[in-house]
């Protein structure tokens, strides 16, 4: 790690003034990603601002509008096992528990989960070109070994994927993100937070320098009756997704009243196609309907040799997970396939 200074912030305002709008000053919360990035010299910091003492951002609260607020500093484990989340947002709970390991979930925070960086091996290898780590140097993955890389929303500058499981569920649930910064507070819809690589893959999301995430709000509707998170990967547990799917249904008289489908492991952000969700409305839940929806979601998907299989894998995962969402009690620990 490079030589940095370290301060503790006791309030959100102290954290913002500690950051001072400077990209070289970094926040540290759980530390599960930034510590690793610092060790590899991928991230360099002049100053680390430790925000773990900001108690106001470390809770789960019911909101007056019927929703729930997840503190940015609440840990992933405490969020997944919170009785309110388990009961009302089981999709979120299952998605969190499919990610990382128990130790890492005990450390990692909700805000940090949104801020984690890609696990592209070329991004992590400082001896290879990477537009995300070193803008303008080129993308090693496009013509390299790209088994884990993006099939949707990528650009010729970057085919990295965003690795979070939690965020796939948050995208499906239409969460919103509360942000504080030197210019005041603002709220971002979940879909507006992460961005596609385009010409600036070094920028993961729309958080500005000097801003911090204070909390994440879940709307009232949590789809506790019909939901499922499916994660497919090379190892059964403690591995990043090749493809993951968060599915939630609101069913009425054996017809789909409302559907949500979000994909992880396939793009630079959690991938949702609203057209497919609208298509599913008022349809009977069956293989034909689900296959048609999967086809809509994968429209325009493009493989780069080693990840070609992901296109078919994603389609089948969507169909399988739609059926799993009809029988959520069959969910297995770690979001493994069931049924």
């Amino acid at each position: 790690m490079n030589n940095f200074s370290y301060t503790k912030a006791a309030t959100t305002d102290e954290a913002i003034s500690g950051l001072n709008g400077d990209i070289r000053n970094k926040i540290i919360a759980g530390g599960t990603n930034i510590t690793d990035l610092l060790k590899y010299f991928i991230t360099k910091a002049d100053k680390l601002v430790d925000i773990n003492s900001i108690t106001e951002n470390n809770s789960i609260q019911r909101l007056n509008n019927g929703g729930v607020r997840l503190g940015a500093l609440h840990t992933n484990a405490d969020t997944a096992y919170d009785p309110i989340i388990e009961e009302r947002y089981p999709l979120l709970s299952k998605a969190i528990l499919a990610g990382a390991s128990a130790q890492i979930r005990n450390m990692a925070t909700n805000g940090g989960n949104l801020m984690q960086r890609t696990r592209c091996y070329y991004f992590y290898d400082i001896n290879t070109p990477c537009n995300k780590r070193d803008p303008g140097s080129g993308c090693s993955a496009i013509n390299g070994y790209n088994r884990i890389h993006a099939i949707l929303g990528q650009s010729e500058n970057c085919i990295a994927v965003f690795p979070s499981d939690m965020c796939v569920a948050l995208a499906a649930l239409n969460a919103t993100i509360n942000i504080s910064g030197p210019d005041g507070d603002r709220i971002l819809a979940f879909a507006e937070f992460h961005r596609l690589p385009g010409d600036t893959p070094n920028i993961d999301n729309n958080l500005k320098h000097g801003e911090i995430i204070t909390s994440i709000d879940l709307p009232e509707k949590g789809f506790p009756e019909n939901y499922s998170y499916l994660k497919l990967r090379d190892r059964n547990s403690y591995s990043f997704a090749l493809v993951s799917v968060a599915t939630a249904f609101d069913l009425e008289n054996n017809k789909i009243k409302e559907a949500r489908i979000a994909l992880g492991g396939v793009a630079h952000k959690p991938w949702r196609v609203l057209e497919a969700e609208t298509f599913l409305e008022d349809k009977e839940p069956n293989t034909e309907t689900f296959s048609a929806a999967a086809k809509i979601i994968l429209q325009g998907a493009k493989g780069y040799e080693h990840n070609d299989f992901k296109i078919e894998l994603a389609k089948r995962a969507i169909i399988r997970n739609c059926f799993m969402a009809l029988n959520p009690e069959t969910q297995r620990p770690g979001a493994k396939p069931s049924l």
Partner: protein, 194 residues
């Protein structure tokens, strides 16, 4: 001029190397004095004993335990949060000491493998690991046991499949996983961890 530049480069090189212990760094400092304002007073309560330390902010908890406090039971496997060998219990929760900066844990209570047993009496998990042949080389074992202690305390694993899933953060390259899960199930079902 060239010599000065070489010395400065060398100093920076040494200062960046976080795996040097404070003692090594201070012996280097004798010859190349450095700004020590970067040091942070940190108190860690490890296995019931207070340690007052002066630490550089980029020292990991793992390096502090091994190099400053000289408790080498906690192992450095990958040093990148991928293997679980460095698992310790901080304020009642199992975490990875390699991804934790010590300065962030000022005032915390830490239990390492050295603090698991009750004096000469082994912890039920330590006994069960021996009975179930739950290791071969033993390098992952301290992390496995600390992780299992944390998992049983969390109380979220009810079935064998759930135990496997919640222990997946601890890799065993010898492949003693069956024995490890057997040992944990034995303790869990015997209720002797409570």
């Amino acid at each position: 001029m060239i010599l000065q530049r070489t010395i400065r480069a060398l100093k920076e090189e040494l200062f960046y190397c976080n795996h040097f212990s404070k003692r090594t760094i201070s012996s280097i400092q004798k010859y190349f004095p450095m700004d020590t304002k970067a040091m942070h007073q940190t108190t860690l309560k490890v296995n019931g004993r207070d340690y007052h330390l002066e630490l550089l902010p980029w020292t990991s908890l793992l390096d502090t335990l091994r190099e400053e406090i000289h408790l080498t039971g906690t192992k450095k496997g990958c040093d990148h949060g991928q293997c679980g060998a460095c698992t310790v219990i901080v304020d009642g929760k199992r975490i990875l000491s390699c991804l934790t900066l010590s300065v962030m844990k000022d005032g915390s209570e830490i239990t390492t493998i050295e603090g698991i047993a009750d004096g000469e009496n082994l912890h039920p998990l330590q006994k069960a690991f021996i009975e179930c042949d739950a290791f071969q080389c033993g390098y992952c074992t301290p992390g496995q046991i600390c992780s299992a202690v944390g998992m049983l305390k969390e109380g979220k694993a009810n079935t064998r499949e759930e135990v496997q899933e919640l222990m997946s953060g601890n890799l065993c390259r010898c492949g003693a996983n069956k024995g490890i899960i057997d040992a944990i199930m034995q303790v869990k079902e015997g209720g002797s961890h409570e």
